[in-house]
């Protein structure tokens, strides 16, 4: 398994700040550095902020004046949010919002459970063909989704699953596995072998070791990958377009937003509110669980 290089051993995110570093910082920090940081931070925030402000402005105001005039001439309305949620506006985001949730929950839980079991087998059980199998799973990380979509669609047509959530649950689960197994395997290898050996001597089998010893220790890694996968699935467009593009019944919110942008590209009152409805969940998850998400990222990813 020599080609597999664990990236999980990346050092902790927040190092403690010794006084040496602080004095170093003092000499380095110039007002110019701070200014540059502020400029970059502002530049990065303005695009989102502009659309957020616009989503609360009346349609006429959005279309005739820049959002920055809001501060000299503020008029606030919730009409835009009402019309993207309402059925009569033809946007009906609420239904797509539900779809996104329905798609996401199994698409996170299923690969997580499967990958945890597989990672355990790879990390702690000796069996013939282990190295070659692990290498194969690792290598599958680099397969681009595009390569798999059409044959998968044909399979779904043959087994009559098209137009159901199953297409999305199954494909997202399959796509997630290589990265999930790799990450969880790396994490499990860091657990001291003595723990497992001691449990075995006490007569515990692999099932009870998995549940009683591994799972409790594994929670942070599971959370890290869970958030990663959740954001990935919620924000996905391509898979949804291919498998759920036909009807509205199973389409996620990203798909409806993309369609809206394509067909009503100048309806900024709808687009602005719609965009914010679609990002509120991932942004909340992200802000609350940033620490875990960062850990997932640091563990290395070539997924997609």
């Amino acid at each position: 398994m020599s080609t597999v290089t664990p990236v999980t051993s990346t050092p902790p995110l927040v190092a403690d700040k010794p006084s040496a570093a602080k004095t170093a910082k003092k000499r380095l920090s110039s007002p110019w550095a701070s200014l540059a940081a502020i400029v970059l931070g502002v530049l990065w925030t303005i695009p989102t902020f502009g659309l957020l402000v616009s989503s609360f402005r009346p349609e006429r105001a959005i279309k005739t004046t820049g959002w920055w005039t809001f501060f000299t001439n503020p008029t606030v309305t919730l009409d835009n949010y009402r019309s993207v949620f309402g059925e009569d506006g033809g946007v009906n985001l609420a239904a797509f919002f539900v779809n996104s949730l329905i798609i996401c929950i199994p698409s996170v839980l299923i690969p997580l459970a499967l990958a945890a079991l597989a990672a355990y087998a790879f990390a702690w059980i000796e069996f013939p063909g282990k190295n070659i199998l692990f290498l194969a799973v690792f290598a599958l990380q680099i397969v681009p989704l595009q390569v798999t979509l059409i044959p998968l669609l044909e399979i779904f047509v043959n087994v009559k699953l098209t137009g159901t959530f199953w297409t999305l649950w199954l494909s997202h689960s399959a796509f997630a596995l290589p990265l999930a197994i790799y990450l969880l395997h790396n994490f499990m290898r860091e657990i001291p072998a003595g723990l497992i050996e001691a449990a075995r001597i006490d007569g515990a089998g692999h099932v009870s070791i998995f549940f009683k010893v591994m799972l409790p220790l594994l929670t942070p890694a599971l959370a890290a990958f869970g958030i990663f996968q959740f954001l990935w699935v919620w924000n996905d467009l391509l898979v949804a377009l291919v498998f759920a593009g036909g009807g509205d019944e199973v389409a996620p919110i990203t798909l409806q937003l993309a369609n809206l942008s394509g067909t009503r590209g100048t309806a900024w009152q709808l687009l602005s509110a719609g965009a914010f409805v679609s990002i509120i969940v991932p942004v909340t998850v992200f802000l609350l669980l940033q620490r875990y998400f960062v850990r997932g990222l640091l563990a290395g990813s070539v997924k997609g």
Partner: protein, 327 residues
Amino acid sequence: MFNTASTTPEKILQMLSALLLFAAVMGVILFIAGRFGGRKGDRVVAYLYLLPVVLLLAVGLVYPGLRTIYQSFFDAAGDAFIGFDNYGTIFSDPDQLTVLRNTVIWVVLVPFLATAIGLVYAILVDKSRFESFAKTLVFLPMAISMVAAGVIWKFMYEYRPDQGTVKQIGLVNQVIVWLGGKPIQLLIDSPLNTLLLIVVLIWIQAGFAMTILSASIKAIPDDIIEAARLDGVNAWQMFRSITLPSVQPTVVVVLTTVGIATLKVFDIVRTMTGGNFKTSVVANEFYRQTFNADNQGLGAALATLLFLLVIPIVWYNVRQLRRSEAR
């Protein structure tokens, strides 16, 4: 249970039954695995644990991947074998050459600029009082879908004709007007439009680069920094001879990871221009050829090309990682 659910209660019911079914399958696997003990039984347990994964990967990734490669040697309808003709089209048809040119521009610009910006920002805010807040600002676009990012930036680039009392509503054109210029159709003029789409992905990926590089910067041992300090190096020398060499392996990882993500960029192009006005890239063209132009063969060839382009990047990445491990 396997039909299309159309009302919300039906959908929730279908999800719950799917999860129950999954739990039942897992239960059976664990139950059988629990009956095997001892070193000999280990083997059985391992295969049982791996069985669902191997099945799912074989059906969901391996077979479809091979099938697509096979299909790439067939014509538009997928009936007649035409050898490498689809690949010939990709490298000779003027439209396809534009697609290739655009993809190259993306793959060159996005990783390098995103990584450079991420590195500079990580250094600038390192150990400052507002570090975590400042990082969140730049990191936040990572949580936003590329579709929503496309909408956000399309609004930034919005164009209003330069006549009479018409006011600009897109910030970029307003800035151009403030600076005394005339508003530009930013998403229509090629090749400017491709560059402006690239900005969107840089906006998203810089946060990723910053986060990974920041962790790497924090891992530089303090005594090295302190020793350099005692030698009286200035900020630039510190960057050149301490920071950069220390984070160099991480820079390679970030560059390649962002590079692979860039290769597959699709949502941004589709949302902002639909691939029109000479902005299409390979991943978008794959979708267009397969679903809109009904050219399955060419679509398959484009997908395969994407796969082929990823391999050298990953290979380089793994090689660099092994080298830095060996050190």
